[in-house]
């Protein structure tokens, strides 16, 4: 392996030397190890799908697809159904996306469109990131002792005066959908804000200059030029925020009320797939545990699909924008 040309270029005393056979072996070995490490992620995802599916199998076999549309959760009769939970998961996450996504987008616009001097914008951006660092249980605790007492008077007033509107159809006795959705919105705000900021910063400066050069006001430039250009990235931010809301567990378990009912009312207690798992699992017996595994599989399917869509949208829009500029 060492030819005379190499020997001439690298005489035995110098630092530069062709690799020895030991070094070739270690190189081959490490490269194989690295391939194994990289494939580990793919194998891990496959293993997760396999294991949860295997655990859920006995429940799937027993309950079939009726599991998805039944509203009972009766341990004694061994009748299980997760329709209220699917409803609760989608309803709370949509509400959270409406509130948190909107707020996050405005915050992103506020931070990237020269409303603040650069240093202050960085401080504000750090504040929003700190929001993302707070653990979910702490948000749940805060929700119980701050959010619920604060919104209860307004909620009960809305129920008394406007109770004929289905959204205000019941009174807020404590945990319920609205406090849970509000806290969830605050939890996904940093995610949406961060990805939207990246999307807005990727818009080429010339586009912004061109808009202002044509005489737009600041908000006309933002709403009619910047947002449509960054629309792909903002869409992926919303989808990923939605995915995060779907999988959120602890704050919801503490705030949503753990009640298996389907209701349009914002103030009624409800249940999500994740909070069902969290609240029922520690004390579950054998058959209930299998039903919970089935519910976990449904949650896995929903979140994987949403997260894959969000990541794919982000990849496609980044490629398009960097190709364009």
């Amino acid at each position: 392996m060492v030819t005379s040309a190499f020997e001439r270029a690298a005489p035995p005393g110098s630092i530069a030397q062709p690799p020895s056979s030991n070094e070739y072996l270690t190189d081959r070995g490490f490269r194989a190890l690295a391939v194994a490490g990289a494939s580990l992620i793919i194998l891990l995802v496959a293993y997760i799908l396999w294991e949860i599916g295997a655990q859920a199998w006995s429940a799937i076999y027993r309950h079939h697809l009726g599991f998805l549309i039944s509203t009972n959760w009766n341990v004694a009769d061994e009748h299980f159904g997760i329709l209220p939970e699917i409803w609760g998961t989608l309803y709370s996450s949509m509400l959270a996306l409406l509130i948190g996504g909107f707020l996050g987008l405005i915050v992103a616009i506020f931070l990237t469109q020269d409303f603040l001097p650069l240093r202050i914008a960085q401080v504000f951006s750090t504040i929003i990131e700190m929001l993302a660092a707070i653990p979910s249980v702490v948000f749940g605790l805060w929700g119980i002792f701050v959010v619920i007492p604060v919104i209860r008077p307004t909620a009960n007033w809305l129920n008394e005066t406007l109770g004929w509107i289905p959204f205000f159809g019941s009174s807020l006795s404590g945990p319920g959908l609205l406090p849970a959705a509000l806290v969830l919105a605050i939890m996904i705000l940093p995610t949406v804000a961060a990805i939207s900021q990246d999307a807005l910063n990727l818009v080429p400066y010339r586009t912004k200059e061109a808009a202002y050069g044509m005489g737009t006001t600041r908000w006309e430039a933002i709403l009619k030029v910047m947002l449509p250009t960054a629309a792909g990235g903002i869409a992926s931010a919303m989808v990923l925020g939605f995915g995060r809301a779907l999988g959120e567990t602890m704050a919801l378990a503490m705030l949503i009320g753990n009640s298996n009912q389907i209701s349009l009312s914002l103030f009624a207690p409800a249940q999500t797939l994740a909070s069902l798992l969290a609240s029922h699992f520690p004390e579950a017996g054998q058959s209930e545990r299998q039903a919970l595994m089935y519910a976990a599989l449904v949650l896995l399917a929903i979140t994987l699909i949403v997260n894959m869509m969000g990541t794919a949208i982000m990849a496609v829009t980044q490629r398009r924008i960097s190709g364009r500029s």
């Binding site: 690295a34 992620i41 006001t217």
Partner: protein
């Protein structure tokens, strides 16, 4: 004479137009109102953080004492007590998670960043790692329950640590890859020119240079995972006693907060706030460490 008239005409004929928008123009007013709206939204968005910090400092701070670190959790009607075992449990499980996920993550990242950045395997791994960063933490707990708790027959700190590792791994891989990509091409080429194999280049040049960036990613991963509680419900459960072995249910700060938050006793609620304060402090310290370490880049 004619020239002077011409110059005078030139000057007055082309007065620069006033480019300022008139105050009464509707477009301008609309924009101004929207700006006020944006300011209000920004203030609303910062209120929750300050509210949480206020509650933590006031409610949690009032209970701070050395007892918290040395005593065990109290039962229902007791007063006093602390959560020393929960702090130990959290630190141990985070340590297990780090030991498992950091080496694996860095090795996978070397493949993604250096050995074969454009291959099908790389792009698939990158895509799946990004998808996994949004993975619900409770499903990581369910997964490790299925593979470890049922196999070992008991809840354990090992299972808790491994479920946290599953959550930490994608963050470590993605940030380590980013850090390794910033190493200048010249350095790697110089190493190759001197006769290094790809492996030697990675271990002697790329990793030492990218170390601050990798540490940033590791600290971020640890910060995220220290506060997780949903996976621990399925893997480590909880314990009211000091840790005796890694193969039994283990206490943790996050599960303690979850359990105590639903109890009707004031003592427990106060302890929950104090535990939240300590947990947030731990997470914030790791976050700040990650920023400080990240600043010392080349």
């Amino acid at each position: 004479m004619n020239e002077q008239v011409a110059i005078k005409n030139f000057r007055t004929a082309g007065d620069a137009p006033d480019l300022r928008r008139s105050w009464t123009e509707r477009r301008g007013v609309r924009s101004f109102i929207l700006t006020i709206g944006a300011w209000i939204v920004a203030l609303i968005a910062s209120v929750p953080l300050f509210s949480v910090l206020y509650m933590l400092i006031v409610q949690g701070g009032s209970r701070l004492s050395l007892d918290l670190f040395t005593e065990l959790p109290p039962a229902g009607f007791e007063t006093g007590g602390g959560f020393g075992n929960a702090i130990v449990g959290t630190l141990i499980m985070v340590a297990i998670a780090s030991v498992v996920s950091i080496p694996l993550g860095i090795i996978a990242a070397t493949y993604l960043a250096d050995l074969s950045p454009d291959s099908k395997l790389s792009s698939t791994t990158r895509f799946l790692a990004k998808v996994l960063t949004g993975f619900p933490s409770i499903l990581a707990g369910v997964f490790v329950y299925a593979i470890l708790v049922l196999a070992m027959g008991t809840y354990s700190a090992w299972a808790g640590g491994i479920s946290l590792a599953v959550l930490m791994l994608p963050t470590v891989i993605l940030t380590a890859e980013e850090a390794m990509k910033t190493v200048p091409r010249m350095m790697k080429d110089a190493a190759h020119g001197m006769g290094c194999t790809r492996t030697e280049t990675i271990w002697k040049i790329v990793l030492p240079t990218a170390l601050p960036g990798i540490l940033t990613g590791v600290m971020l991963g640890v910060a995220r995972v220290a506060g997780e509680s949903a996976p621990l419900l399925f893997t480590a459960l909880f314990s009211n006693y000091w840790l005796r072995s890694l193969r039994e249910p283990t206490a943790s700060l996050s599960i303690l907060i979850y359990n105590f938050s639903s109890m009707p006793f004031d003592n427990q609620i106060q302890l929950a706030w104090a535990a939240s304060l300590i947990l947030v402090l731990i997470v914030l310290v790791f976050n700040i460490l990650s920023r400080v370490l990240g600043r010392s880049r080349i």
